[in-house]
Structures are given as structure tokens and as C-alpha cells.
């Protein structure tokens, strides 16, 4: 998240002091992203250096030093708001890595590994939902942040569900057509996947070559 642009956004409402900027930043983001006061002043110094904000030049550095946005700062803020965030290549996601690695470690109960992560994510979602239920009604910023977090965690759980379904189908197919069409015991896919123990990993490198994994 860009602290730089968040501070420009707050200054677009009018001149403010450094301490005031910190308090308003936290309030506007539902107090979900705490901000160190040192980080505020460092960012303000850089914004001033780049000509995007101006300060009360003669005043001492400290809580009473006021800042205001410049025309260049307003232009920078407007451009940033309309610039899509870079989502063109998949991030190097640790959870995705763990599931891919689990497939390649012999004897690993892959659905069990997936369930550990699924439970953790659901528990986090329960906590966010409690915040929504108790506090977000009167705070639009907090409600939006909580929704964003719930949708993000939900999408990870959906991926885990899809991954488990795909792994289960692959295991049944490997076990042969009789097993695939017969009753599911729920155990064939538990300890390692045939296809993953053939010593021919390759899916990840080919994905990386095709679309480029963000570092």
C-alpha cells in the first residue's frame, strides 16, 4: 500500500500537521494499517523533496509543522488513482508453493496439509466477520477494508477447495477406472499422489516461463 499517496490524499482536503496526518490515516483505513510517526515524517520529507508537498518552511520540524499539497502533488494523486495496480503476473505466493511442494514430498497427506491452511483462513474470516458485525456498521472505511480482506481470504479458500478437488480426481484417475467409478473411500489420495512421485516436476518452471512469476 502506498503511504505516499495516502498522505497526498489527506492533504488534498487541506493543509495538515504531521501528527494529524498519522491519526487521520489510521482512522480512514479502519485502523487496520497502523502507521509509525517516523514513517509519516520520512514520507513527507520525500514528498517535499519531489515537489509534491510544501511545508511551513521556517517552522521547526515537529508535530506543529504544517504541510500542504502542491499542484504537482494533486496531479500525481489523480494519476495514481486511475492507474491499475500491477496484477499481470502471479505473485510468488507462499501458500501456493507449500501445496506444490507437498505434492512432491513422498508420504505427505496433501488434503491434510490443505485443511490446516483452510481452517486457519476460516478462523481469520470469523474474526473479520466479528469486526464487521460489531464495528463496521458505523465506519465505512473499516467496512470496506473488512470486505476486501474477507473476499481475499475467501478466494484463497476457493483455490484450496479447487486444488483438493483436482488432486483427488487425479488420484482416482491414477488408481484406475474401476476405482474412479466405484464408491469413494476417501483414502486413495491421502498418502502421496502417484503422479507426483514420478520424479518429473515441471509444472512450476513451465508456468514461470510462460507468464513470469513476480518476485
Amino acid at each position: 500500500m502506498s503511504v505516499r499517496h495516502a498522505l497526498l490524499a489527506l492533504l488534498s482536503e487541506g493543509p495538515k500537521y504531521g501528527l494529524q496526518l498519522r491519526e487521520e490515516f489510521e482512522a480512514r483505513t479502519g485502523e487496520v494499517w497502523p502507521l509509525n510517526v517516523g514513517q509519516v515524517y520520512t514520507t513527507l520529507q520525500r514528498l517535499e523533496r519531489d515537489g509534491l508537498v510544501e511545508s511551513d518552511g521556517d517552522a521547526q520540524d515537529g508535530p506543529q509543522k504544517g504541510f500542504r499539497i502542491t499542484a504537482a502533488g494533486t496531479e500525481e494523486l489523480t494519476g495514481w488513482l486511475r492507474t491499475p495496480s500491477d496484477m499481470s503476473s502471479p505473485p510468488r505466493d507462499e501458500l501456493v508453493m507449500k501445496v506444490l511442494v507437498a505434492l512432491r514430498v513422498p508420504g505427505t497427506d496433501v488434503p491434510d496439509v490443505i485443511q490446516v491452511h483452510r481452517r486457519y483462513l476460516v478462523e481469520l474470516m470469523q474474526q473479520w466477520t466479528r469486526i464487521k458485525e460489531t464495528e463496521a456498521d458505523s465506519d465505512m472505511s473499516l467496512a470496506l477494508v473488512v470486505d476486501a480482506e474477507l473476499f481475499r481470504l475467501d478466494s484463497v479458500i476457493r483455490w484450496l477447495d479447487a486444488a483438493e478437488g483436482r488432486i483427488r480426481r487425479a488420484a482416482l484417475a491414477d488408481a484406475g477406472p474401476d476405482t474412479a467409478s466405484g464408491p469413494q473411500t476417501g483414502t486413495q489420495y491421502i498418502h502421496g499422489i502417484k503422479g507426483t512421485q514420478r520424479g518429473t516436476p515441471g509444472a512450476l518452471p513451465s508456468v514461470r516461463r510462460r507468464v513470469g512469476v513476480r518476485k
Binding site: 494499517w33 497502523p34 476460516v122 470469523q126 474474526q127 474477507l150 473476499f151
Partner: protein, 240 residues
Amino acid sequence: MSVLEMRRVSRCYGQGAAEVHALRDVDLTVDAGMMVAVMGPSGSGKSTMLTIAGSLEEPSSGEVRVCGQELTTLSRNARARLRRRSIGYVFQDFNLLPGLTAAENVALPLELDGVPARRARNAATQGLAGLGLGDRAEHFPDQLSGGERQRVAIARAVVGEHQLLLADEPSGALDSVNSEAVMRLIHGACKRGLAALVVTHDAQLASWADRVVFLRDGRITDQTAPPPGPESLLVQGQNP
């Protein structure tokens, strides 16, 4: 107090090679005032669990108690009475009777249970008003939006002396705003003392529950720990 108790409940369909174990040795307790969500993929046994809890289907083995009464020891009529008096159902497709108004739909289970028509009607009107549908009481289901229909179904499920609410994908066909409204209503009913069992594959729905149990191949394989307070997230990563 436990409103629903399932002990070693199993359910099999078919025989021999065609035998399918829909549920295996399921233990589950839902106390008054609690919402428990059951998550699992299609075919994991979620809906079977709900129909057995609601006495719409009998287990192959095991015990099911609703409001302290063991279902298998009850006569068919007694089970039907328990279903009408104590259990409310919410389904994905609302299951409202199209020829009845919203108020008549809500009042129907009370009237079937012998509550005088006027009293049942008053309770239904109050129930609808409590869910923000006071001005929709005389509308027929096809005059209501999907979200409103599901709120009518919830009013029907919580009206009267119902103590257990059973919901099968209660917001499956609704958009996120209406889904949240539906879950808020069910959660609110639990805060007033109702016990709820909600089956869903949707984590956003399940996250409203006090406890989430995970069902795989007819077995409960895992469940969430009691959630800590919301402060734990809001102070996370706080700078000194």
C-alpha cells in the same frame, strides 16, 4: 443447553457394491444461542446431516436428540409435532408457497400447529416487521425480490417457539449484500437464544458461525477453534 445432539450418527444408502456411506459416526452438538456451520464439498454429506438433524430422514445408526428428545423413540406424529413446533428450515430456493402472501406463509406453520388464525397472523406480521418486511406482509412471493423472499423464509423459520434453525445454503442464490443481510438475521436470531446449524460450501457464510466443522466423505474431519476477540486483528502489526 444443547438443542441438537447427534451421537455416532451414520447413514448408508444402497447395499453391497452399491453401498454409499453418506455419514459416518458423526458427533455434533449445537447449544442454544450458537450458530454452527458445516463446510464441505458437494457429496460430503452436508445435506444428509441437515435432513437427519431436522428429522426429515432417519439415520441408519446413532442417536439424534432435538430439544432433549431422542427422535427414534418418538412416534411419527410426535416427530411431526416436534418439527412444526421446534424446528425452522431455510432452504436455498426459499420454498415459499406461491399462492399465499408473505404473512400467510409465515403464519402457516403456527396454524398447522393449532395456534388460532388471528394469533398466528399477528405473530407473523410482527416477525416480518422485525426483519424489515413490515410493508411486504401482503405481497405474494412473486412480488418480492430474492433477498426479500429469503427474509420471509427466515421469518417463517424463527417465528413461534422454534428453538432450532436448520439452513441449507441459505444465501446460495443471492448477491453479496443480500447474503450478508440473511446471515445477519440468522446470527441475530442466535443471539436471542436460537440454535442454528447452517450447511454451506461458502466460507463467507460460514464465517458468521461461532464454530465451523469440516465434513469430508461423511466424516467430521476438523473444526475451528473458538475465535478470539476482534482486537487481535486490529492491533496486529502495530508499530511501537
